[in-house]
Amino acid sequence: MSGDLSELYQQVILDHNKRPRNRGKLPTANRIAHGDNPTCGDQCSVYLRLEPPATPHQPEQISAITFDGSGCAISQASASLMTTLAKGKTAAEFESMFKNFHEIVTTGQAPEEISDLAAFAGVHTFPARIKCATLGWHAALNALKSAATSTLSESLTR
């Protein structure tokens, strides 16, 4: 197997693909969004609960988040990992984390040491797979922006 390929399919990605975390519907969700990757037909739905934190006058936080759908190892692992990192974050914090993630998958450079997200650095040498890696994230961003259930058709332009 080539270096690029083993760089793409890191152990952490294979692990999340095989044993996805937070998979399924979330009965208590108050924000839902759906993402399509029109190139391959992959789908990802994100369910999350946004609620005020214990401390008053603070912005709402993601108290729970799940995903389901079908897709390749990259899209499934990315969505799974995303749910593990999103819990407890505000919408602004999540967006900033996505910016870092996007930087990693498009340039291969991690802006700072940020946990398992760096495992996706190998994606940048496979530009056709960037949409796979960001599918669940786009669904989550859309869920955060929505007031109720909404549908997202992920833009082809990244």
């Binding site: 080539s2 390929l5 399919y9 095989k18 391959c40 037909g41 992959d42 390749c72 190892a73 797979r129």
Partner: protein, 408 residues
């Protein structure tokens, strides 16, 4: 010497390495590679004859007009039609859209467009749009079997093919299943209820003999690039009496007999349907592709397809956990398959490292995929230059991929 003997030498693109491995091109259902003769025809035109057609009286314009019309006659001979029945288009999609708009304009609420569950999006979405605009209804001839192994359910024809059906359209060969549909029978049945028949021949045109008279269709559409021709050129065949009563979809220069500030009169077919400057070089090179395929003998091409696909099917069927779609018997040059644990995209990325060009996804067949409980498949599609040795590399590569993902 048989033109088959050194066939790979005719295709310059095949002689390259991808990721350090010899290229094995198995994405022919998406587009086929071009022989030297077709590439030379394009170069020759632009170096020697480039000029607009049907407009100039100078030497170059007469040469290019002559070459363009010779290509039309060549395409007509290729499918057993008359030259006046050949309309050059950009490809299958444009041909179907032209028909959907022009035939569709005559539909009324209550009319039915009958198609099948295995159509490519290009032979589905334009009809959906027309149905929406006119109030007509689309009905679908179902596909039989959990893996679509039974092809079309012809037992439902009696019930579905009623006099309300004004347009019947169907693919000749499915781009996902490889199944060859009995288009002769289907067109005959459609004609019996007074429906106009439209056959999508995108996947069949380069893979064997095709005779529009034998098929008996009113319209047949195909692309040049799947039969060794360039991209951006295709053909809409229309039976003469059908073309005469068909309005153009696009209007402009080249298709008008007379224009005043108030109105315009159309030229007869085929010019009526070719507004604007056509893809002249593409049409000429497509004519050359006809020569190339006929030299190989299209019956031999079909035999090569069958034998290679049979070999691939047998080898792939030995892989544990593989789900093969489509018929087990006669099929065109492709095999579509899926695994429960490994996604098509991951397979295609891995196989690419072995020099294999495969297609992974829904193949513009989303409703069919959904019906079969899939989001996508991996497809290996073959053409005249592929070999059994290449299929063996595919099988070895697949086994390695499955082992990596701990499946199979």
């Amino acid at each position: 010497m048989s033109p088959w003997k050194n066939i790979r030498a005719d295709f310059p693109i095949l002689h390259q390495q991808v990721h350090g491995k010899p290229l094995i091109y198995l994405d022919n259902a998406a587009t086929a590679q071009k022989p030297r003769a077709v590439i030379d025809a394009l170069v020759h035109f632009y170096e020697r004859d480039n000029s607009n057609v049907h407009r100039g009286l100078h030497a170059l314009s007469m040469r290019s007009t002559d070459a363009y019309e010779t290509a039309r006659a060549r395409l007509a001979r290729f499918i057993n039609a008359a030259a006046t029945e050949i309309i050059f288009t950009r490809g299958t999609t444009e041909g179907i859209n032209l028909l959907a708009h022009s035939l569709g304009a005559k539909l009324r609420p209550g009319d039915v467009i009958l198609t099948t569950e295995m159509e490519h999006h290009s032979n589905l979405v334009p009809w959906q749009q027309v149905a929406r605009a006119t109030g007509a209804t689309i009905r679908y001839l179902p596909v039989v079997g959990a893996d679509a192994e039974g092809g079309l359910d012809l037992t439902q024809l009696d019930q579905l093919l009623t006099p309300a059906v004004k347009i019947f359209t169907c693919t000749h060969i499915s781009n996902t299943l490889g199944v060859i549909n009995p288009v002769e029978e289907l067109c005959r049945r459609a004609r019996a209820v007074g429906a106009i028949s439209v056959i999508d021949a995108a996947q069949s045109i380069g893979h064997g003999p095709l005779d529009v008279q034998a098929i008996g269709a009113d319209f047949v559409v195909f692309s040049g690039h799947k039969m060794c021709g360039p991209t951006g050129i295709g053909v809409l065949y229309g039976r003469r009496e059908q073309l005469e009563s068909l309005d153009p979809d696009e209007t402009g220069g080249g298709m008008v007999a007379n224009v005043t500030y108030e109105s315009a009169r159309w030229k007869p077919a085929p010019e009526r349907f070719e507004a604007g400057t056509p893809n002249i070089a593409g049409a000429i090179a497509l004519g050359r592709a006809c020569d190339y395929l006929d030299a190989l003998d299209r019956a031999e091409i079909a035999k090569h397809d069958q034998s290679l696909t049979g070999f691939a099917y047998d080898q792939l069927a030995k892989i544990p956990g593989i789900r093969l779609l489509g018929p087990t018997g006669a099929r065109s040059g492709m095999v579509s398959f899926a695994f429960s644990d490994v996604h098509a995209h991951d397979i295609v990325t891995f196989a690419d490292e072995d020099g294999l060009a495969l297609r992974g996804g829904h193949h513009c067949n989303q409703p069919l995929m959904r019906k079969l409980g899939l989001t996508g498949t991996t497809r290996a599609s073959f053409y005249i230059y592929n070999t059994e040795a290449e299929i063996e590399v595919l099988v070895t590569s697949l086994r390695r991929i499955l082992a990596f993902f701990g499946a199979g």
